[in-house]
Symmetry: C2
Subunit: 464 residues, 2 copies
Amino acid sequence: MANAQLQSVLDHIDKDFDNSLERLFSLLRIKSISADPAYAGDCRAAAEHLARDIASIGVATEVRPTAGHPAVVGKTSAGGRPHVIFYGHYDVQPVDPLDLWHRPPFEPVVADHADGRKIIVARGAEDDKGQVMTFVEACRAWKKVTGSLPIDVTFLIEGEEEVGSKNFVPFVEANKDEFKADYVLVCDTGMWDPETPAITTALRGLLYEEVKITAASRDLHSGVFGGTAMNPIRVLTRVLGGLFDDDNRITIPGFYDGVKDTPPEILEQWKKLEFTPDSFLKPVGLSIPAGEKGRLMVEQASTRPTCDVNGIWGGYIGEGSKTVIPSHASAKVSFRLVQGQDPQKIRLAFRDYVTARIPGDCKVEFGDHSAAPAVALDWNMKPLAAARKALTEEWGKETVLMGSGASIPIVADFKRTLGLDSLLVGFGLDDDNIHSPNEKYDLRSFQKGIRSWARILAALAEVK
Amino acid sequence: MANAQLQSVLDHIDKDFDNSLERLFSLLRIKSISADPAYAGDCRAAAEHLARDIASIGVATEVRPTAGHPAVVGKTSAGGRPHVIFYGHYDVQPVDPLDLWHRPPFEPVVADHADGRKIIVARGAEDDKGQVMTFVEACRAWKKVTGSLPIDVTFLIEGEEEVGSKNFVPFVEANKDEFKADYVLVCDTGMWDPETPAITTALRGLLYEEVKITAASRDLHSGVFGGTAMNPIRVLTRVLGGLFDDDNRITIPGFYDGVKDTPPEILEQWKKLEFTPDSFLKPVGLSIPAGEKGRLMVEQASTRPTCDVNGIWGGYIGEGSKTVIPSHASAKVSFRLVQGQDPQKIRLAFRDYVTARIPGDCKVEFGDHSAAPAVALDWNMKPLAAARKALTEEWGKETVLMGSGASIPIVADFKRTLGLDSLLVGFGLDDDNIHSPNEKYDLRSFQKGIRSWARILAALAEVK
């Protein structure tokens, strides 16, 4: 039945696209930065806006409190047909360094990309407001054209994905009876390339730590104390500077325990992919893969664990010079984890590694931001095949099943708390600048993303 | 003659001390932070205030433009007697981190130190406004009581000492005919301890560099690019983390070339000094000397060269977490230099060291903040002996001739531009928190500092 009406739905999507874009812009204008407490009111405003928007389709939707930023929950309940949870997030990353944005990050526009593509530019244009709205707009079109959705949907949109979902996961767990479904649809991933759709079937995990090293009890003058007082930046750079060996392997004892080599048959397939320094690194001004020597770059990017210092600070960082030996220095350090690595074990190994390198009269403090294991999805199942076929029909190219270097910890949490697998479909591109200045989402990603979900909804209705 | 009137001058200083304090407070209230262009107006205001204050003694004084913050120049010209230049600076260090100050840094107060000492608390209380005012107030007392100063004085107070005197030195050089004198008095150093006066006869030099490492052309998402894209913080921490070997020696090739060992007879004297981790490091919460192994701590602090990272920054440094691989990372790195080291050679050696460690697709940029060689003063001369005797009389303890770990680059500049030696007398203490939050100057340093200069002026009048 659903397939018979699909063409009318797709036609309506194209006809109504300017309005879809305006609805996305209204959401993008809200400064829902979850990391910064100063924007808590904006996060709530984004939740309320999104709840009204989903309700306007004709889906009962409410803003639900959590111990942090609220969640948005909406539900259809025709019954007797597949029931999915749709997951996304309305919170966005901080916008600094603000001076590198070409336009204010919360004043969305459609602009021309250098190569002629039309792009939507704003913080959250892709991650994840643009992606969420591809699904919402697909549902809106189905309701408008046919009066109902092809399957039952529970919308479950959170506001703390960018800060580790610390309060959202307990919320889901506490209300799990409400969230009975067949599986979860997640829209927070990317395409293989601008022409080729993809379903993500493996995700790296994420461990995110903060380290603060304290030496003297106060800032010191380097003329008076230089040469006798330990400088915490010296300690911090020595510790962090030793995290990699000359082969770019991470030196923390036990870090690679349990990590499996990529099977030879997969390696053979990957060697044929056009994933090269020229295709992947050159667009961002680099040329030399920085991962483990002797590994394919696609392994470095997806199936090997990594370490990055995401932030470092200490001492005088203003203009000019100040001859200070600071009292303390800090860094934010994260690890992308793969199958076989236990986040808690890696956390302890990292802390042991750092602690062992702290001089006797300095101290170290740790803070944790998040810890999620890697996920490998078992998708030898009908919804995956149905979604893959629908995507291939929309894009005219075979859908790729791919591993992703990024982490979506909620996927493991849904499995643990609700017992549900997730199907990860998204329309992001490598050059979307997510988490960076000038984030964008291709206008084509948004429009064909809506059309893709319209097709997938129809296809999933047929899955028994 | 001068000595006959000295007791009346000293009595007047004690009687007028509350007014001296209020005049110092007026100067301390001006936010003359030279490093930050936002405070340029305050620097000018401080110069104008100081010029008016010196003129109020009866010394013709004006604010003189330089290519940067202005200088204050005042002059007496009786003739036929010794003529000295008095040098100091009215600019102060930045005040961050502001949240560690117990009171606003530009609202001076007299407070009780934990051990009962009365202290003046404010940015600049010691460095260098308090020290400058010891001399100005001594001159004021001489003029008030006797109608004139015992010797001729040219006041020469600059506003860019904390940022390397880049514009002041050319100003002195361009006007050197105005600055003919017998020698220079500099008040920007410290006592041996709270009871023991000192004259500083050797100073370390200072080389101050800034390093910026750029990897990708924009910030990247660590999920997408982690493992393949080089992280500039990884490069920076590896480079800086390798600056010291396990014996705490600096690893830059050639760094110690030309550095001489301390003569054995000096070492024997120093071994008797009570300069220990307990006396020097414990008050700031440390216990292990961080300098070269096998050297006395007094060597580490005064006659050995050092390296400190004074600031480091890169990536996300706000609250919470952000999974970014930043485009660039930076650090401010300074070196205290000793006799035998050429700042320009060290600069090149440092830059070579860094450049050799930059991956092929990253780039490094350098900025320089200052470069000054070490200075050893030749003071087998009468003014030194006269000043030493005057200080000993005021404090009741033998005056120590000491080397200082800090740098006062202007001393070398006065020698080069004006051909003049400098006599360095000051009343700072190790716990004054200069360049740190809660800077202070002992009330006793200020009062007895004024009295000390009154005595020195009298003593210098007798030197033929």
